[in-house]
């Protein structure tokens, strides 16, 4: 287990990492999710031992690793850029960490071929990186991380420079590839959808602070505060200030009736949050707001409708192809059971009911989820 205990990193006058405490289990996939400059790479460098924290301790299986130089830790890192040795063949690129470790030639050969097989590189082993596509080059870098048999594998936006479809493909394979290693996987990403597809655990980062850490889907469904909810939303979360009086929420000039449980909350000002797919054009739901249509975007089977509701930019994701006239008024509906409410300090006070969990039997098959 890798434990970060109250880790901070200060460079000059800037706090890059602020008081981060995390516990990452062996064999788990951990996503660091946050926008550019939120501290993902800084945190990874601290985990790897490339940087030393200003405060706090980093422990591996209960033992501090702060004094141990990076070469002596069993750490592998894959970067956004495809980093390979340009003059070496793919085979030698993958074998390089094993050569450094002075393994027997037969062992090296076995491990390299196994990794190449997992990453579908077997037919390219004699080529050089420049002859390969971007996807294959990144596979090579990943294979090199794999053969090292590290305890800690750090993937810093490894798919960001790849084509969308290649990304999808490799993203699905990555957890499977590293599963047999039993290593601690850490994966930095700016994209909420990527975190969701990877599953495992997610830590959301905001200005160098970890705002929440837990099972990915739980963080998504039950964000502890508004900052986390915003960080973990793509398309963006619709928000608006509301005030609660008895069994009603007032959003600008609209009134939202509340359930008995919701009505029991104290009367106060809140921030309402609503996922775009819970805001629809069909009139079946209980609450109605009116917005000015700004743009519609078609995705093929669905439509994103961008509107202004109570002066806030909102998005609705609606089934079917809709061409709405711009600057016209449009009625939108949602169900009160799908709303998030955050109090004035930004903390979550109410979340939508969570969907039925995937049965345990199914989760067991996802080996990398422990």
């Amino acid at each position: 287990m890798l434990e970060l205990a109250g880790v901070s990193k200060r460079v000059g006058n800037e706090d890059h990492i602020r008081d981060v405490s995390l516990q990452l289990e062996r064999g788990s996939m951990n996503v660091l999710l946050g926008p550019t400059l939120s501290g993902k790479t800084s945190l990874m460098r601290l985990m790897a031992g490339l940087d030393k924290p200003t405060r706090g301790d980093i422990l591996l299986d209960g033992v501090s690793v702060l004094g141990i130089p990076v070469q002596k830790r069993r750490v592998a890192m894959v970067y956004q850029q495809f980093i390979n040795y340009p003059t070496l063949t793919i085979y030698e690129n993958i074998a390089s960490p094993l050569r450094v470790a002075r393994l027997a030639a037969a062992d090296i050969d076995k491990k390299v071929r196994h990794a190449a097989d997992l990453l579908r590189l077997t037919e390219f082993l004699d080529k050089r990186p420049a002859e390969l596509s971007g996807g294959q080059q990144q596979r090579t870098a990943i294979a090199r991380a794999l053969v090292k048999e590290s305890q800690l594998v750090l993937l810093d936006e490894p798919l960001a420079n790849l084509d969308y479809k290649l990304r999808e493909e490799l993203r699905q394979e990555l957890p499977r590839i590293f599963a047999e290693l039993g290593a601690i996987l850490v994966y930095a990403s700016t994209e909420p959808s990527e975190a969701l597809l990877l599953g495992g655990n997610t830590a959301t980062l905001h200005q160098g602070r970890v705002t929440q850490f837990g099972a990915t889907i739980d963080v998504f469904q039950q964000p502890v505060d508004l900052v986390t909810a915003r960080t973990f939303s793509d398309p963006p979360l619709n928000t608006a200030p509301v005030s609660k009086r008895g069994a009603e929420l007032r959003l600008d000039r609209f009134v939202i009736p509340l359930s008995a449980a919701q009505a029991a909350m104290p009367d106060a000002n809140y921030t309402l949050g609503l996922r775009p797919w819970h805001l629809t054009l069909e009139g079946s739901a209980d609450c109605t707001v009116e917005g000015q249509v700004k743009v519609t975007e078609i995705t093929g089977s669905e439509t994103y409708i961008h509107l202004h509701v109570a002066d806030q930019p909102w998005v609705s994701l609606t089934h079917g192809i809709r061409h709405l006239d711009v600057d016209t008024s449009q009625l939108l509906h949602f169900s009160p059971e799908n709303i998030y409410l955050f109090d004035e300090t930004g903390h979550l006070v109410m979340a939508p009911r969570s969907p039925v969990p995937v049965s345990k039997a199914l989760l067991a098959e996802q080996a990398w989820q422990k």
């Binding site: 597809l197 915003r230 975007e297 199914l362």
Partner: protein, 359 residues
């Protein structure tokens, strides 16, 4: 703004041994928003550079409003282009960066200082750059720089076309949404002809009226987002559009049914006898997960909960099958699947079998 006509345009980087772009003829409407979509190396950037004049096509003509511009240099084509990475003049202020392409206009197109100022102000407010206008471009964040690069493309209102070369690649997801919708608003407001190159299907579909899907130097399909989703002309388009993409399963045809490994699937219509490789295409959205005993039995490999819905990765005999299941629907442990007959496409040698084959 102009209509753009490609007349047998083709390009080879090696003197005709191989073609990065195979001969194509298209007509793109004045004021249209087009996306060139495809994987790396499909020729989309080559095509863009031919339109902007950074590259001379080895064959064919390029016409703006029926005027042959094939031999005109870039600066005389009156186009704007936004690149993948921000390209700014570091030593100029943000406002000067925006004004620069306008100040370079000479002869009859020369703009007055007042007019330049007006347009720059317009672009600044359009993109919400007021706070940065007087700052030097050097030292701004990547997001801001790319916003300004977009502004440099949009500041010229009289251009024949605005070209975008994967402009949102380096942008964080939240700003991506904002910039994309701003681009759409600007397009609607000013009616520029816009051509947008990307490998990201979401960007292509949401931005464009017409998406041009390219593969290996050829246009595989050009159509509206809906056409690409409902009736992909090629299995490649089916897989490339949508996440996850279309399931493509080898099958045989028997009257109004498709047969996959002895299992029969009802079709919406009857097909004639077809030769070659026959495949059935169905989008994960149109596969229903049902309780065991019903439909075709499948084994579940993994389930990805993406919040809105779940993506179930399953195995139908030897074939992989992706299924999208609504968030609140339970996933049975020994499920079967049913296909929505109306949404099944049949492919012959990877090409869609169209309605003209109906009996």
């Amino acid at each position: 703004m102009a209509k753009i006509t490609l007349n047998n345009i083709a390009h080879s980087y090696d003197g005709g041994n191989s073609y990065a772009l195979k001969a194509m003829s298209h007509e793109w409407n004045d004021g249209g928003a087009y996306a060139l979509l495809g994987p790396s190396g499909c020729g989309k950037t080559t095509l863009l550079n031919i339109i902007s004049g950074l590259l001379q096509p080895s064959e064919g003509q390029l016409l703006f409003d029926d005027v042959d511009v094939s031999s005109l240099p870039t600066e005389q084509r009156n186009i704007a282009q936004v690149f993948q990475f921000p390209v700014l003049y570091d030593t100029m202020t943000v406002a000067d960066n925006l004004a620069f392409p306008l100040r370079n206009r000479r002869g009859p197109d020369k703009l007055s200082a007042a007019e330049i100022d007006h347009r720059v102000q317009q672009a600044i407010s359009m993109l919400g750059l007021e706070a940065l206008a007087g700052r030097k471009a050097r030292g701004l964040s990547a997001d801001d720089k790319q916003k300004i690069s977009l502004g440099r493309g949009l500041v010229r209102t009289d251009v024949n076309a605005i070209l975008f070369d994967e402009p949102l690649t380096v942008i964080d997801p939240h700003l991506k949404w904002q910039l994309r919708t701003q681009l759409k608003q600007i397009h609607r407001q000013f009616g520029h002809t816009m051509i947008y190159v990307t490998h990201d299907q979401t960007e292509a579909l949401t931005f464009a009226d017409k998406v041009v899907v390219m593969l290996a130097g050829e246009v595989v399909q050009m159509g509206t987002p809906q056409e690409l989703f409902d009736a992909p002309q090629h299995t490649f388009v089916g897989k490339f559009i949508g996440s996850p993409g279309m399931n493509v399963l080898p099958c045989e045809l028997a009257g109004k049914e498709a047969v996959i490994d002895d299992r029969r699937i009802a079709l919406a219509r009857e097909y004639p006898t077809l030769n070659g490789v026959i495949e059935l295409g169905i989008r994960p959205e149109f596969v229903r997960l049902v309780n065991s005993g019903q439909g075709l039995p499948v084994q579940i490999v993994s389930v990805e909960d993406v919040g809105r819905h779940r993506i179930v990765r399953a195995q139908l005999n030897k074939h992989r099958l992706d299924i999208i299941v609504p968030a609140h629907q339970p996933v049975p442990s020994e499920p079967g699947v049913e296909f929505d007959s109306d949404r099944i496409n049949i492919y012959q040698n990877s090409q869609l079998v169209g309605w003209e084959h109906q009996l």
